[in-house]
């Protein structure tokens, strides 16, 4: 019941919004719907947490033996919580942004929420693919209609790039469908006993789709452009939630399904992930646009998660799950700050800013905390995740190079401090210039939203146990698949 509600609330509201012309009503309805799905999600995690409420399994396309099968296990719960938690914050945090056709903007936004939630809950491969695309298409329209100057070319690239991946994934899923005896069930997929040779093509077909989505070097070039050109609310959805679809895909549809390839070739992809981390960190050092800076830092952080998946251990994999949630929350905070600065001052260029700390002390404090979380300061949420991931990578029995990976990846800890602090220094410290002279404090709604994020950051950072116990079962499931040579 919970999965159905989670899908239907944004889906119906999203569709209904196309009919409501009145701007404020549309916004309010969107906010209400997102809050409602958050409430349902929380209820699902506290009151209705028995299996009957958290699964939904009805026939869908009988001819293809595909079923409407949703399940909220630990990892799904965490990601659905992230999604339902983020959307109200995004909508309320960007409340003062004005769009043409507000109702359509929010309608599409909610449709993408339905898609995202579906992706995280689907236990049927065809259903997974269906929602995967459902999440993508509204975002395409959002970027191409409300984006920046170069939006057409950039969103076209984004769409084609990710769609290419999706199609490859579809082929891979269909191959699995036949191998599994005409079944799209996840449970049937993971019970397959495929040989190494059979797994190789499937691995690549699925991996490329996920690698593009996450994104992993060298498939990342769509991402900074798209983040830069998208309207801020969409950028938030893209990086806080959508990027997690790729990692989620790895953990649910790739590693457990084709464990032998993932295990035997893990070193290649772990190396690629380390390169991705270092590469993105170095590039981030040289960015002048706030959005591109955050975009590259996001690639670096995602790289660490990929590393922990391909140099696996219990600690590492569980760290990835925790970190998916944490990274989503943190990066959302970063984007909100960027949005506030852009709305107030009309620029995102670091070189044009300065001295904001004198003008907007509250924003500065909140940003510094979010930025500290972004560089994995202890007692913030990201520390827990990164600690477990690095620890897992270094202690991984699946690879001989765990120490090297951890040490090389560890360099990004230093680099992230460099570029984050440099950004803080140039934007907030020093003297004001002609542009920032008349800057004002951020509006109350952004303060509230950032404060909520900060509370979440610190709370998880100090007491991560609920998240850890939520994910331990799924972790063991994934790990048991990998050790099964």
């Amino acid at each position: 019941m919970v999965p159905v509600l989670l899908i239907l609330i944004p889906l119906i509201t999203g569709a209904a919004l196309f009919l409501i012309r009145q701007e404020t009503t549309a916004k309010a309805l969107a906010l209400f719907a997102s809050l409602l799905s958050l409430a349902v999600m929380l209820a699902g995690m506290s009151i209705w947490k028995d299996a009957a409420h958290l699964t939904f399994n009805e026939p869908w396309l009988n001819a293809l033996h595909s079923r409407f099968h949703f399940e909220l296990d630990g990892m799904s719960q965490l990601l659905c919580l992230l999604t339902t938690f983020s959307f109200p914050l995004i909508i309320y945090g960007t409340w003062n942004n004005s769009y043409e056709d507000t109702n359509r903007f929010f309608g599409l936004l909610l449709l993408s929420q339905a898609g995202l939630l579906g992706v995280f809950m689907a236990m049927d491969a065809l259903l997974f693919y269906f929602f995967w695309e459902l999440a993508l298409i509204p975002l395409y329209f959002l970027c191409s209609r409300w984006g920046g100057e170069k939006r057409i070319a950039v969103t076209f690239k984004f769409f084609i790039y990710t769609f290419l991946g999706s199609l490859l994934m579809l082929i891979g899923l269909i191959m699995l469908y036949y191998k599994a005896g005409n079944s799209f069930e996840w449970a049937d997929f993971i019970n397959l006993k495929l040989s190494f040779r059979e797994q190789v093509p499937i691995f690549f077909l699925l991996f490329i789709a996920f690698a593009i989505k996450m994104p992993l070097f060298p498939f990342h070039t769509w991402q900074p452009d798209t983040y830069e050109q998208s309207p801020n609310a969409v950028t938030m959805v893209l990086s806080a939630i959508m990027a997690k679809m790729g990692i989620f895909g790895l953990l649910r549809w790739l590693v457990p399904v084709v464990p032998i390839v993932s295990f035997q070739w893990g070193d290649n992809f772990a190396t690629l992930a380390v390169i991705s981390m270092l590469y993105a960190s170095f590039v981030a050092l040289q960015q002048d646009d706030l959005k591109r800076l955050v975009a590259y830092s996001s690639i670096a952080h995602i790289g660490l998660m990929i590393l922990a998946v391909f140099a696996p251990s219990t600690a590492g994999v569980q760290g990835v799950m925790i970190q998916m949630f944490n990274h989503g929350v943190n990066i959302l905070g970063m984007w909100l700050v960027v949005n506030a600065i852009e709305q107030k001052l009309g620029t995102r260029k670091i070189s044009e800013l300065g001295g904001l700390a004198q003008k907007a002390p509250v924003l500065t404090v909140l940003l510094v905390i979010v930025a500290l979380a972004n560089i994995a300061m202890p007692l913030t949420n990201a520390f827990i995740g990164e600690f477990m991931m690095f620890n897992g990578v270094l202690g991984s029995t699946a690879t001989k190079f765990g120490v090297a990976y951890a040490a090389a990846g560890g360099l990004t800890i230093i680099l992230s401090a460099v570029y984050t602090l440099r950004m803080i220094q140039r934007v907030f410290y020093g003297n004001t210039n002609s542009r920032t002279e008349h800057a004002k404090e951020i509006s109350t709604n952004v303060q509230v939203v950032l404060a909520i994020i900060v509370v979440a950051i610190v709370l998880v950072g100090i007491y991560p146990k609920p998240l850890l116990s939520l994910t331990s079962d799924v972790t063991n499931q994934v790990i048991s698949r990998i050790n099964l040579k």
């Binding site: 590039v283 040289q286 202890p378 270094l394 602090l421 440099r422 991560p464 850890l468 331990s472």
Partner: protein, 633 residues
């Protein structure tokens, strides 16, 4: 309250509450209230610390687990505090000196606006909180929380005057350099965790025999990398002199008395690991001694009152590492304690001078302050005597203990150590003489405004001066009085395993007495020389040349780092940004371009002639038939 140790969580709680109150209500609190909250919370912690110390003195120790912090699979890292001799001693130092410096700050920072005043105290309280976590943690992860936390507070406080972009750069430098060390620390923690499955001290030290010699060497080296970052040792020391950009009480608290000694605390805590890793001990010894000498040479030629003290701190930290390296753990901790007294005193005295001189820090523009600042003068002089190692001031005992241990290990270490001690005496009395003796060299306006600081500033000076004078008496060496080393006795349980493992060499009492006397005589000679030379100092325009210039420019280390690390890293980043844009993205776009090109070619087939289409269609059908017939046989 039958056992105060169970309430140890109160100690960090008070500063945390102080931080939250001052931080959240900074717009509405008045300055006196802020000061009371800030200092009061530390005082409360100090009281609890004293009670705990009394308890520990009777032999009681304990581990207090608050909650599970990170637990997964079979690993459990609890949020737990460990109260034993070592941590209770550090509690006293941190909260005691911390309180004095908070008190001092209420007067020193009085010119700030309400909001920034509260921000300052919030940071300071947060620092004390982090530092307390660092020493109280019962495992390496909790220590790491405090470890990074103090780094963060150091960053915030160095960049406290954030309008000045140079100060914020110094803050950034401090944070990044600390982070380099932190990475080493973190890797060591992961290493321990992956080998032993636990990071709790008691369990790690219990299971230490399960580790191979290689593992121990790697772990201790990595931990030491962390220590070089936090405790400003070669090669990561350059941030500490720059950190003087922060307010002077901050320099006293963080960059002299407490935070920078975190590395020493950590190694003293892990003493058993280090005792079992002779290679690492050699490395620690060499780095410590090298830093002690290197920083001392730089301090000889500095003219900024705080910079001299900063390099002196780096140098003294080097001594502590020398002590750790030669196995004199008690000596190192002893020196941490005495150094905390006299270096905090010196910094606060410097702050008092700077306060009186209206933020003038160049000692060439001072001189003759003796008559204007009597209390500051006397206390500063006592501090100088203590750091120079004149008996019976505190620095003598602690430094002597380290040097004696170094002699037992290798006389060369001893000789070099003494050379450093002589340099220390020289630059400290150069500083003292140029500041307080001679005649005033500043502007008339400055002279007109010269005044002794208010009581809130002088009381801490007096207290610290008293401690600097008598603080050494807790560790009187065996050679002077039998069984009078109270500190060694107190800390013995912490270092018991190491002592059992590495029997310290005994030096004949006569040799030790001879060395003591000799060194003291040499130091006195140097002091007399410096006193005589610099009390008659005249400002001159001539620039120092040759070697003096190299020292004045700190051996050009900053410039070398800039050229060898910062610039290449930035250039590499620029290169990769180009590669990203014109390399990888070009390939991606190239795929799109080639598809478009291909479609332009294929488009020629679409002639628009209906007949052509039909013909193609018929041909196509015939081909399909042909395939059907000939291939499907």
């Amino acid at each position: 309250m039958n056992n105060i140790i169970d309430y140890v969580w109160l100690v960090p709680l008070f500063p945390l509450v102080g931080f939250l109150l001052n931080g959240l209500l900074r717009n509405s609190l008045s300055k006196p209230l802020t000061g009371i909250i800030g200092s009061g919370s530390i005082l409360a912690s100090f009281v609890v610390s004293v009670l705990i110390f009394m308890q520990v003195k009777t032999g009681a120790t304990g581990i207090v687990t608050l909650f599970d912090f990170i637990s997964y699979d079979k690993t459990n890292i609890p949020f737990a505090f460990q109260v034993d001799q070592l941590s209770s001693l550090f509690l006293l130092i941190i909260t005691g000196i911390g309180f004095l410096i908070h008190l001092y700050s209420t007067a020193y920072m009085h010119d700030e606006t309400d909001m920034h005043f509260a921000r300052y105290f919030a940071y300071l309280n947060l620092f004390v909180f982090s530092m307390l976590l660092l020493v109280l943690g019962a495992n390496y992860v909790i220590m790491f929380i405090g470890w990074e936390g103090v780094g963060l507070c150091s960053y915030l406080l160095i960049g406290y005057w954030f309008k000045n972009i140079e100060y914020t750069s110094a803050a950034k430098k401090a944070f990044v350099m600390n982070r380099i060390g932190d990475l080493g620390f973190l890797l060591a923690v992961f290493w321990i965790l992956s080998k032993l499955g636990t990071v709790t001290y008691s369990e790690v030290f219990e299971k230490v025999n399960l580790l191979s010699a290689n593992d121990i060497t790697i772990i201790t080296l990595l931990l030491f990398v962390g220590a070089t970052g936090k405790s400003a040792q070669i090669p990561l020391y350059t941030w500490l002199p720059d950190a003087m950009a922060g307010p002077t009480p901050v320099s006293a608290l963080i960059h002299a008395a407490t935070m920078v000694t975190a590395g020493i605390y950590m190694i003293a805590r892990s003493n058993i690991l280090y005792t079992m890793a002779p290679t690492t001990q050699a490395v620690v010894t060499i780095i410590g001694l090298a830093t002690a000498l290197f920083a001392a040479t730089i301090a000889l030629k500095q003219n900024d009152i705080k910079k001299v003290l900063a390099y002196s701190t780096v140098s003294q930290l080097g001594y502590m590492f020398l002590g750790l390296g030669v196995g004199a753990f008690t000596g190192a901790v002893f020196h941490v304690m005495t150094h905390a007294f006299f270096k905090a005193l010196l910094f606060l005295g410097a702050g008092s001078v700077i306060h009186a001189m209206h933020h003038e820090q160049d000692i060439r523009n001072m001189g003759g302050l003796k008559k204007y600042l009597p209390i500051t003068h006397i206390t500063f002089l006592l501090g100088c005597l203590a750091i120079a190692g004149i008996p019976p001031f505190s620095g003598f005992f602690s430094k002597d203990e380290i040097l004696a241990a170094a002699y037992a290990k290798n006389p060369i270490l001893y000789v070099l150590g003494v050379a450093g001690a002589l340099m220390t005496a020289f630059y400290m009395f150069r500083l003292y003489a140029m500041t307080f003796l001679g005649k005033f060299r500043g502007t008339h306006e400055q002279e007109h405004h010269l005044h002794e600081s208010p009581a809130a500033m002088t009381i801490p000076l007096i207290v610290l001066a008293a401690l600097s004078v008598v603080g050494g008496l807790v560790g009187i060496p065996e050679v002077l009085a039998h069984n009078a080393h109270a500190l060694e006795e107190f800390l013995a349980p912490v270092f018991a395993k190491s002592t059992a493992l590495a029997k310290p060499h005994e030096i004949p009492h006569s040799t030790e007495l001879l060395m003591m006397g000799g060194v003291t005589a040499l130091v006195l000679g140097i002091i007399a020389y410096a006193w005589g030379k610099f009390s008659k100092y005249e400002k001159s325009a001539e620039e120092s040349a040759g070697f003096g210039k190299v020292l004045e420019n700190k051996w050009y280390v900053d410039e070398i780092y800039e050229a060898v690390i910062t610039k290449p890293v930035n250039a590499f980043g620029k290169l990769l940004a180009k590669v990203d844009k014109y390399g990888i993205d070009w390939v991606v776009n190239g795929v799109g371009r080639s598809v478009q090109y291909a479609s332009r070619q294929v488009r020629l087939l679409q002639s628009g002639q209906v007949g052509n289409y039909v013909l193609l269609m018929v041909v196509g059908i015939i081909i399909l038939f042909a395939i059907q017939i000939f291939l499907k046989k």
